[in-house]
């Protein structure tokens, strides 16, 4: 054993004066099974009394509230993404349907907060910089919600560390990293979703830790309670913001590891026992969260019952469930010989034709048919009008004249008296697609080429074609191409209008069209109907169908957020705080809000992670060589407890590398919380030879183990105090960027540009003379 002891000393002795840690250092830690460490250093025992702990957490919480609420009314302008989330709160209060990529819980809470402070939802949050005071918006009430949740995150972080068995001072260290972090403060003071997300994330972690600690008292009421709490908070995280799904994954990974251990034969459990555990977790961590997640959407959809700006994203049947929706009001069945305008669903241009012809020869040398141009045009025009011509005999009157799914029709361009056709000639811009043109209606020589199959989306056989709601594809009968358009402009000869051509792949997204309006009809009833506008009751649609549609759209749009943004940054920049986001600027007084973290806290966190990985690596290498430098219980704490934090960190961080959507530094904040926890554990490992153990509740099947206590002596409070002061000073120094006040001169801005990669406004020019 002496050899092992030697190694331990080498490993740990660095920079630590063991005598300084008080009389307890006399205890032979080789013998870590001793029943009780008679005396911890005075300061350690004092800090770990309940009263001291309560006092510490109270102080932290009070400071947290102060930092989050300080000048919360400044600026009285719309800042950054308040444009979106403030707007959504308004929509909830006005009960108008909107569409967003994020799940609704956090936004619902904003709506609730708004309603609570008596906001009537009249303001639209149109632009960054719009004034709240001029528009009489009770924005402080809205901002108070994330500020409260953000403040509460600090004591929760403290509690997580405490529950994991760390000393008060270590727990305070982790909490301080969050407490004095400018990024967390800035993000919590504004109408943004992240504070809610992080709040629920930390609650999830807290509950899971509590649940894990009860593992020897399985199936007891408390055990169930914390299991269900984990599930609930996890669902809330997930329902707050789309990246909350990562929390579900993180907990999932932890649970799988847990189950894998239960499965281990060495533990001596039966399969029946395993299945019992499995089912309990499935119920608490799959079924319950699903129910909660669905309920949130149910509430969301139940509140948003009126038509609103989000209508256009949804399918016609969905839209018809919204009160006052245009589709609901203006959708009519279309009859033959009706004159209609047709719009392209994706790009919202009208199907258009005009007497000008395609040029005989294009720039690239290909030849056209020189037929009349068919284009997509963005504005109302009489050249957008088409009449629907039947290809079969029609009854004089009645419902037989209605155009139906799978009918073959011709489209007559009213102004030029020509019918739409396509043929095997390459389109002006795409050699692989067919050119669309028209043909005189009386010339029957190319009759076949003017026939189109009307294929309605999701239609039953014989379903009637309706304006607005009847999305359709127009399939050319002889060549099977679909009328298709894409947002590419034709050259000057077509007045830069949009190209329309025939796409061989009829299932492409760009082949969907709808009838925008029935301009004229031969049917007297319909004509009369077109005049009047009546109030119709919304239709009903199964909740699950609506939910499914919405969920799918959210995923699609989330993946589609690829446009570049000047402040977007790659994940590799985040832990090192290489770049921030400019939230808001005001030229008058040179004020600005710039989202950037406290560099001391961030670098301490990332340093903690590096050291942790280093320790694990060294441990693995040493054990591979038959050495055991770390005592078993300390090692278990490192692998299991800190391992859970690392899982949370990694799962909330690495998936962003695979995402091609635009990414911002605030996506790292959940990981940053986890990294603060890791930093705390690493500090504890460095400062103390021992740990507080056992921390888990006894169960009947476990034989009691001797208690040990961590002892950080006096050095830990001193270190943490120095750290806190450093954090606080830097926090104060950067705070003009966080709170947007006071304004800074150019030189002051330059001084606060701690890293050259920060792009602050109003910086004094360092060189040049512009």
């Amino acid at each position: 054993m002496s050899g092992v002891q030697d190694v331990r000393q080498r490993n740990k002795g660095k920079g630590i004066n063991r005598d300084a840690s008080g009389p307890s250092s006399a205890v032979d830690y080789d013998d870590h099974n001793v029943a009780y460490l008679p005396s911890r250093s005075y300061i350690e025992s004092f800090l770990n009394t309940e009263e001291a702990s309560a006092a510490v957490v109270a102080i932290l919480t009070i400071i947290a509230f102060f930092t989050r609420f300080y000048k919360i009314n400044h600026p009285d302008q719309v800042v950054f993404d308040e444009v979106h989330f403030g707007k959504f709160a308004s929509y909830y209060i006005r009960r108008e349907y909107y569409f967003d990529v994020h799940p609704p819980l956090a936004k619902l809470l904003f709506g609730l907060a708004g309603w609570f402070v008596g906001y009537d939802g009249h303001f639209d949050f149109e632009n960054i910089g719009d004034s709240y005071t001029e528009n009489h918006v009770p924005y402080v009430g809205l901002r108070a919600l994330p500020a409260i949740l953000g403040s509460l995150t600090v004591p929760i972080v403290y509690a997580i560390m405490k529950e994991c068995g760390y000393s008060t001072i270590i727990a305070a260290f982790s909490a301080i990293i969050i407490l004095f972090d400018n990024a967390h403060v800035a993000q919590s003071r504004l109408i943004l979703l992240d504070a809610t997300l992080i709040f629920f994330l930390s609650l999830t972690m807290y509950s899971y830790v509590r649940f894990k600690k009860l593992r020897y008292q399985e199936f007891s009421p408390q055990w169930w309670g914390w299991l269900l709490a984990t599930g609930t908070f996890m669902a809330c995280t997930w329902a707050s913001k789309v990246n909350g799904i990562l929390t579900v994954v993180a907990v999932g990974v932890a649970v799988l590891i847990d189950l894998w251990d239960i499965l281990d034969y060495k533990k001596g459990h039966s399969m029946q026992y395993f299945w019992k555990h499995f089912i309990a977790r499935a119920a608490g961590l799959i079924a319950l969260p699903l129910v909660i997640y669905l309920s949130v959407f149910w509430v969301h959809l139940a509140i948003l019952s009126n038509t609103g700006p989000g209508d256009a994203f949804m399918s016609p049947s969905f839209q018809e469930t919204l009160r006052g929706n245009e589709l609901l009001m203006k959708s009519h069945e279309i009859r033959y010989y009706d004159t209609v305008t047709i719009k392209h669903k994706d790009t919202q241009v009208y199907l258009h034709s005009h007497p000008e012809r395609y040029p005989l020869k294009y720039d690239d040398g290909r030849i056209s048919s020189q037929g009349q141009q068919v284009t997509g045009y963005g504005h109302e025009d009489s050249n957008n009008q088409w009449q629907i011509i039947p290809t079969k005999a029609l009854p004089e009157t009645g419902r037989g004249r209605i155009v139906r799914h799978e009918d073959v029709i011709q489209l007559l361009h009213v102004n030029t008296g020509t019918v739409l056709m396509t043929h095997d000639v390459a389109s002006p811009l795409m050699a692989t697609n067919e050119e669309f043109t028209t043909w005189p209606k009386d010339d029957h020589s190319r009759y076949n080429d003017t026939l189109f199959h009307l294929r309605l989306s999701d239609a039953a056989p014989g379903e009637a074609w309706k304006s607005k709601s009847g999305h359709f594809r127009l399939i050319h009968v002889p060549t099977k191409v679909a009328m298709w358009s894409h947002p590419t402009q034709l050259p000057d000869w077509a007045f830069k209008q949009q190209e329309i051509n025939g796409n061989k792949n009829a299932n492409e997204k760009g082949a969907v069209w709808y009838v925008n309006e029935i301009v004229d009809s031969q049917d007297p009833d319909l004509k009369a109907k077109l005049e009047e506008v009546e109030m119709k009751e919304p239709k009903r649609l199964n909740f699950f169908k609506k939910f499914g549609e919405l969920q799918l759209l959210m995923l699609q749009h989330n993946a589609g957020l690829t446009a570049s943004h000047p402040y977007a940054s790659g994940p590799i920049n985040w832990p090192f705080l290489l770049s921030g986001i400019s939230f808001w600027t005001q030229n008058e007084g040179q004020k600005q809000i710039y989202l950037i973290g406290n560099i001391i806290g961030w670098w301490a966190s990332v340093g903690g992670i590096c050291i942790y990985i280093g320790i694990l690596g060294a441990d693995l290498l040493a054990r591979r060589r038959g050495l055991e430098p770390i005592p078993d219980d300390v090692r278990n704490r490192l692998w299991n407890s800190t391992g859970f934090f690392i899982i949370v960190w990694a799962v909330h961080y690495f998936p962003f590398y695979l995402m091609s959507r635009q990414l911002f530094i605030h996506h790292y904040l959940p990981s940053h919380v986890a990294s603060a926890l890791v930093a705390g554990s690493v500090l504890s490992f460095v400062l103390s030879e021992t740990i507080n153990t056992p921390v888990s509740a006894w169960g009947p099947s476990v034989k009691p183990r001797p208690t040990t206590y961590a002892d950080h002596g006096v050095k830990a409070p001193v270190m943490v105090a120095v750290f806190a002061i450093a954090m606080f000073s830097l926090y104060l120094f950067i705070s003009p960027l966080t709170y947007g006040t006071p304004g800074l001169t150019g030189e002051q801005v330059n001084a606060r540009r701690l890293l050259s990669s920060w792009t602050l406004h109003f910086a004094a020019k360092e060189s040049g003379n512009i």
Partner: protein, 824 residues
């Protein structure tokens, strides 16, 4: 060896299956006890078929025992029975000899020397008669037959299409450049193309044809001979596949399966039949896996001659495969992972002396890192040695390198640069190009004329050095004003007369820098056109202080924007399609004096009033050229991103490959042409992909069962299952996944090296579940094996036209219509 033994050894292991009780005593629950017969008698596939189902370890131990017997009964044992059951089985392994105390210790030892690959056998005694020689080598008969078959498939009607097919247009052309010794530039490393050149040389081609896509080969181009030489690499894939399977310890039927699949895959066949790099890439990928599996089987004979040889061979093979295409890095990664795991195991071996540990590390570093790098660099050295004439790729290289090419006139440029000179400016960063501008404008930012870095010679690279606005233009008669450090100049673009300009507008890609554009004309302009010339140093004259006048080629310059204080920079950021994927030029706000991407030199220099220079000074050092060329290759490779505005019907996405959703047309589709279509044999691709998924499921099931202490396999069997599975799965994953995250445009032939690993996985799983399983009778195994072989062959026969060439209108080949998408 396999079939030979089958043919010869009809003997039955006559002894009782319970001769060895060692294993009986193990506390193995369930399965094992039920089947723990004597491993001694088991001859696996080398043994008698009808006994096989009873034998617990069908192919490792059995083989070993069988092999051991050869030297003992070296005489004639054709048809003779092997009777060796009395032999105490553990004695087969040297390590067992001192065991015998502790069963578990014995088990551990047993894991060692047997290994997870093919079993070692002692060398056969030297043959005394010809008959014996033949007999000892009977195992090589099937691969020889397969090789002959491969010759037929690969060479059959290979010259049928007399046109330049698909990428022959590129690689044939590059081969010609080697024959003409003209410097060219390409995104792939040179080894493969040098071999194409060699093939041309051997077949008597003179390099005069320019390989226009789709054009008919003229009389004097021996394209058939060149294709045959390329196809030879394809032929060699088949025996390599066979021997790899043998080395991986597969049963004889599985070896046949692997060989059959390699032989009959239409895509491998098709790609091997033309003048392309892929046959070589595949060949070297196969050799790498083969060498690795050979090396693995030497793992308990560290530092023996064979061990060193196969380790070195693996390294050379890695070097070759990466020198053909960078895709070879993926198989390198596989070897890397294998080595890391191997070293990790060794690291945990506490009995191994430190000296041996270090030797192991040293051997790996030497053979798997240094050696491949040497091979890679050697191929470049050869490349530079052969291509010593000026050619189309010059401008990719540094000015100095170009000056040393035969036929290049840089060295005779006027030496001293003066006002009024027309110059081209070369960026000195790795892979840098020439400062360029063209009439197209930026669609973003200022909307002024684009300025880029361009890698080809072009009139748009020419710039005039002119003085500031208001200063007199250089007088054709007056004194010559030479350019010096600190001079403020305007750079006027010769073709458009606009001036190089910068302003505080973010550059299109590197948004933190200022945009650089061309603005104004001969009379319009402002102070934003001023650039301060800063001399860094001179390659010939050394430090800045020694530089009085600025010389072309050797003086390294920086251009500082006078107003903004930023530096002209080009750092291989690629512009989007509107900039023709050329390199972005921007003006960097920070002053990093060490940043070579802000260094420029004058490359071409025209000034009628100055005397011609005649300096052939410094050679550009090899390492510098090597690195420069590699960065340039990397940059061009990254520029091969799909163009969203243009539909590339040949390109496909990685998700299309595993289930063969799309193929690739390799030539024109006219009715009178011979048509080739790159499409795999569907059953092989589908089976391979399915087996990968299955392998993961099976692994999960086994792991869970192990966690519950169900012993499904003996440790050695498990080791083997895991070892082959790891090679196949990680090989596949490493070759496939990078394409998913790569921005580059991808084609179906990128999957071809990947396919090999899915083939191995399929054979491995069939082997595991059927061919070596104890549950199936010999008859069942025959049926399964026969059915699989027949399906593979039938499918190949159905689709053979894709690779042998199809004549006539494509619509007449009704049976080949693929997936209702298109007529092929």
């Amino acid at each position: 060896m396999k079939p030979a033994d089958v043919a010869l050894n009809f003997g039955t292991p006559s002894g009782s299956p319970r001769t060895s009780s060692d294993f009986e005593e193990l506390n193995y629950p369930h399965h094992h006890t039920a089947t723990s017969n004597s491993p001694t008698g088991s001859l696996g596939w080398t043994a008698v078929p009808r006994r096989e189902e009873e034998l617990p370890l069908p192919h490792y131990m059995s083989e070993d025992t069988a092999r051991r017997r050869v030297p003992r009964a070296p005489a004639v044992d054709g048809g003779e029975t092997f009777v060796a059951q009395d032999e105490k089985h553990p004695m087969d392994y040297d390590v067992y000899d001192d065991g015998g105390k502790d069963v578990y210790a014995k088990m551990k030892a047993a894991r060692g020397p047997v290994g997870s690959g093919r079993l070692r056998r002692p060398p056969a005694p030297p043959p005394t008669t010809v008959g014996e020689l033949i007999q000892q080598n009977l195992e090589h008969i099937p691969p020889i037959i397969y090789t002959l078959l491969a010759c037929w498939t690969r060479f059959h009607k290979i010259g049928k299409s007399g046109n330049v097919i698909w990428d022959e247009a590129h690689f044939g052309k590059f081969g010609s450049h080697y024959l003409k010794r003209e410097f060219y530039f390409d995104v792939h490393p040179p080894l493969g193309k040098m071999l194409v050149g060699l093939a041309g040389l051997l077949s008597g081609y003179d390099g005069s044809f320019d390989f226009k896509s789709g054009e008919a080969y003229p009389e004097h181009v021996p394209y058939t001979a060149m294709r045959v030489i390329m196809a030879t690499f394809g032929v060699a894939m088949v025996p390599l596949g066979w021997y790899t399977a043998v080395e991986l310890g597969m049963s004889w039927r599985a070896c046949h399966l692997v060989a059959l699949m390699v032989l009959f895959d239409v895509a491998w066949l098709c790609i091997s039949r033309f003048i392309l790099l892929d046959s070589m890439l595949l060949f070297f990928t196969f050799t790498t896996v083969f060498c690795l599996s050979k090396f693995h089987n030497q793992q308990y004979h560290s530092f023996s001659f064979d061990w060193w040889m196969w380790l070195a061979m693996t390294g050379i093979s890695i070097g070759c495969v990466t020198s053909v295409k960078w895709v070879g890095l993926f198989v390198t990664a596989l070897v890397g992972l294998y080595t890391i795991e191997d070293l990790w195991d060794k690291f945990g071996d506490l009995k191994m002396p430190v000296r041996d540990q270090i030797r192991h590390w040293g051997a790996r570093i030497g053979c798997l890192i240094v050696l491949p790098i040497l091979v890679y660099m050697a191929s470049f050295k050869l490349h530079f040695l052969i291509l010593n004439h000026s050619g189309p790729g010059d401008a990719q290289m540094s000015s100095l390198f170009q000056a040393n090419l035969v036929g290049n006139d840089f060295a005779s440029n006027p030496l001293d640069v003066a006002f009024g000179s027309k110059v081209t400016l070369k960026n000195m960063g790795w892979g840098g190009g020439l400062l360029h501008s063209h009439v197209q404008t930026y669609p973003v930012g200022s909307n002024q004329q684009q300025v880029t870095c361009y890698h080809y010679k072009d009139e748009n690279n020419d710039w005039y050095i002119t003085p500031r606005w208001g200063e007199p233009e250089p007088d054709a008669e007056g004194p010559i004003r030479f350019l010096q450090d600190g001079d403020v100049i305007r750079l006027r673009h010769a073709a458009t007369t606009r001036n190089l300009h910068s302003h505080p507008i973010p550059a299109p890609v590197t948004k933190l820098n200022h945009e650089v554009s061309c603005y104004g004309n001969l009379t319009i302009g402002d102070e934003h056109d001023y650039w301060v010339v800063e001399v860094v140093d001179d390659i010939k004259r050394g430090k800045k202080n020694n530089v009085d006048k600025i010389h072309s080629l050797t003086t390294r310059l920086r251009f500082r924007h006078q107003v903004l204080g930023c530096y002209l920079r080009a750092a291989n950021a690629i512009l989007p399609q509107w900039g023709f994927k050329q390199v972005e030029v921007s003006c960097e706000k920070e002053n990093n004096p060490g940043d070579v991407h802000t260094y420029w030199n004058v490359e071409s220099h025209w000034n009628d009033r100055l005397p011609r220079g005649n300096t052939k000074f410094y050679r550009s050092p090899f390492l510098r050229d090597f690195w420069h060329l590699n960065v340039a290759m990397m940059t061009s490779n990254n520029a091969l991103i799909p163009d969203p505005d243009k539909e590339d019907i040949l390109a496909s996405k990685p998700l299309d490959w595993p289930f063969l959703r799309l193929g690739l047309r390799m030539c024109g589709w006219g009715d009178n042409q011979t048509k080739y279509y790159l499409l795999g044999t569907p059953v092989i691709w589908w089976a391979g992909t399915t087996s990968l998924v299955v392998s993961l499921l099976v692994l999960a099931v086994y792991l869970i069962r192990m966690q519950r202490r169900y012993a499904d396999m003996e440790p050695r069997e498990w080791d083997h299952f895991i070892y082959v599975g790891k090679i196949a799965f990680f090989g596949w994953f490493l070759h496939y996944f990078p394409f998913m995250i790569m921005g580059r445009v991808t084609y179906v032939h990128h999957y071809l090296p990947t396919l090999y690993f899915s083939v191995l996985m399929f054979a491995h799983l069939v082997d595991h579940f059927v061919l070596t399983s104890k549950r199936f009778s010999e008859k069942t195994k025959w049926i399964v094996f026969g059915a699989l072989s027949f399906t593979i062959f039938a499918c190949f026969w159905w689709f053979r036209g894709l690779a042998f060439g199809m004549d006539g209108p494509i619509n007449e080949h009704w049976g080949l219509r693929w997936r209702r998408l298109e007529y092929l």
